[in-house]
């Protein structure tokens, strides 16, 4: 059964169409890996799926409150401790316990450190741990393994495997192989004609 499906989707970035004619569906327990060269529109596609920007045309069908999004920036507050950051997000999503999330990403020893003092990889792990406290079934991740070492990537893969086993789904833009059975969608063939300008007014106005 599909949790998130996309029909005839076209998306634009900065008023210029980047991808068009996308059709795919992701069901429970499935992983969709987006591939494509830099600038192909992977991030824009993920932001559209997360509901941060409207599609140019076509539809994204998804249940309400199903998506948890994680981007390049981790959204951590440097003057809060790791545990406080996580607790805040747990509270926003109505979840309670942050201990399993800390454990899953090996952050228990760092819980009382200020997020500003964590290394890039540790910050990333904390950002990914946020996904666990959201309790959302569909994870939409943009390059989640950037600045992670091999051990941390293994932790991430384990967390994803667990999430999938519990009926979750994952849509991820990544260049490394996480070792799952995954549908792979190469976005390069869907490149749109950049000559068709639309929505340029917004950009000029702002």
């Amino acid at each position: 059964m599909s949790i998130l499906s996309v029909t005839n989707l076209s998306i634009a970035r900065g008023g210029i169409p980047v991808l068009e004619g996308l059709n795919f569906a992701v069901g429970t327990g499935e992983v969709l890996v987006l591939r494509g060269p830099n600038g192909a529109g992977k991030t824009t596609l993920l932001r559209t799926l997360a509901g941060l920007q409207p599609p140019l045309s076509g539809t994204v069908t998804c249940a309400d409150d199903a998506v948890a999004y994680a981007a390049h920036a981790d959204g951590l507050k440097s003057t809060l401790t790791a545990a406080e950051n996580l607790k805040f997000w747990a509270g926003v999503y109505g979840g309670g316990d942050i201990e399993p999330a800390l454990k899953a990403f090996d952050l228990a020893a760092l819980a009382d450190r200020l997020a500003g003092n964590l290394s890039a990889g540790q910050k990333r792990r904390l950002g990914l741990a946020r996904l666990l406290v959201t309790g959302r079934p569909v994870w939409i991740l943009d390059e989640p393994t950037v600045s992670l070492d091999a051990a941390s990537v293994a932790l991430f893969a384990a967390a994803v495997a667990n999430h999938i086993a519990q009926g979750g789904a994952l849509i991820v833009a990544t260049h490394i192989d996480l070792g799952f059975d995954a549908q792979v969608l190469d976005v390069a063939p869907f490149r749109a004609d950049p000559q068709v300008m639309s929505g340029a007014f917004d950009e000029a106005f702002l």
Partner: protein, 218 residues
């Protein structure tokens, strides 16, 4: 929602949060006025309501660009926009947090600074009342301005240009109430007008600000 408010308050109080920045600015600004204008107590007490109100307004402006810019830079705003919190509620909570950390200290400090400017004795009550009613409007109008400029690099100056004209009605009615209070006239009309502006700003601007944020996040 409460968690958002608590988070913003904690962030403001921790290192680099900017709590007290507006208050310090207000203090210095009002202290500078007697130096510039001269120690003549009659002249000072005549301009005191206006100076205190302009000071409060500028102090509020100082910390406005932090409301959304910091969350935008570290990616929290993206994540909050996809979280199960209405963006309108987010704006309202952030404006409220801004008021608690900036507006409320101004209300408390203003009477003490009134002494420096020889503010008329009868005007103190009205100074506190108008600041209490008016500063929430400053925070909510400011949050709207901050939302419009959130995606822009160094949008702070542009935001000031956008926000200051919107502050004019609050300033006029606020200073007018204090002036009338000092002279013993009836203050009800300007007070009601100011209350209306604040109520309108609090009710409407979170929606406008949320719409602006949605556009800048695209």
């Amino acid at each position: 929602m409460i968690r958002l408010l608590m988070r913003d308050l904690i962030l403001a109080l921790r290192a680099g949060g900017g709590f007290g920045l507006g208050l310090g600015f207000f203090l210095i600004l009002v202290t500078l006025v007697p130096f510039g204008v001269g120690p003549d107590s009659e002249r000072l007490s005549a301009i005191a309501p206006g100076v205190l109100w302009v000071g409060a307004l500028l102090a509020c402006l100082l910390s406005l660009d932090r409301i959304f810019a910091l969350d935008y830079e570290d990616g929290s705003l993206d994540l909050l926009a996809t979280a199960p919190v209405p963006l309108e509620g987010l704006v309202a909570m952030k404006a409220l947090a801004h008021w608690i950390t900036t507006g409320l200290p101004l209300v408390v400090a203003a009477p003490m600074l009134g002494v420096l400017l020889h503010l008329d004795g009868a005007a103190y009550t009205w100074l506190i009342v108008t600041l209490l009613i008016g500063t929430p409007a400053l925070s909510f109008i400011g949050a709207f301005g901050a939302a419009i400029t959130v995606g822009l690099k160094r949008g702070g100056l542009l935001m000031s240009l956008l926000v200051l004209p919107l502050y004019i009605p609050t300033l006029i009615f606020g200073a007018e109430v204090v002036r009338r209070g000092a002279q013993g006239f009836d203050v009800m009309t300007p007070l009601l007008m100011q209350g209306g502006i604040s109520a309108g700003a609090i009710a409407l601007l979170p929606f406008a600000a949320a719409a602006a944020i949605r556009i800048s996040l695209r």
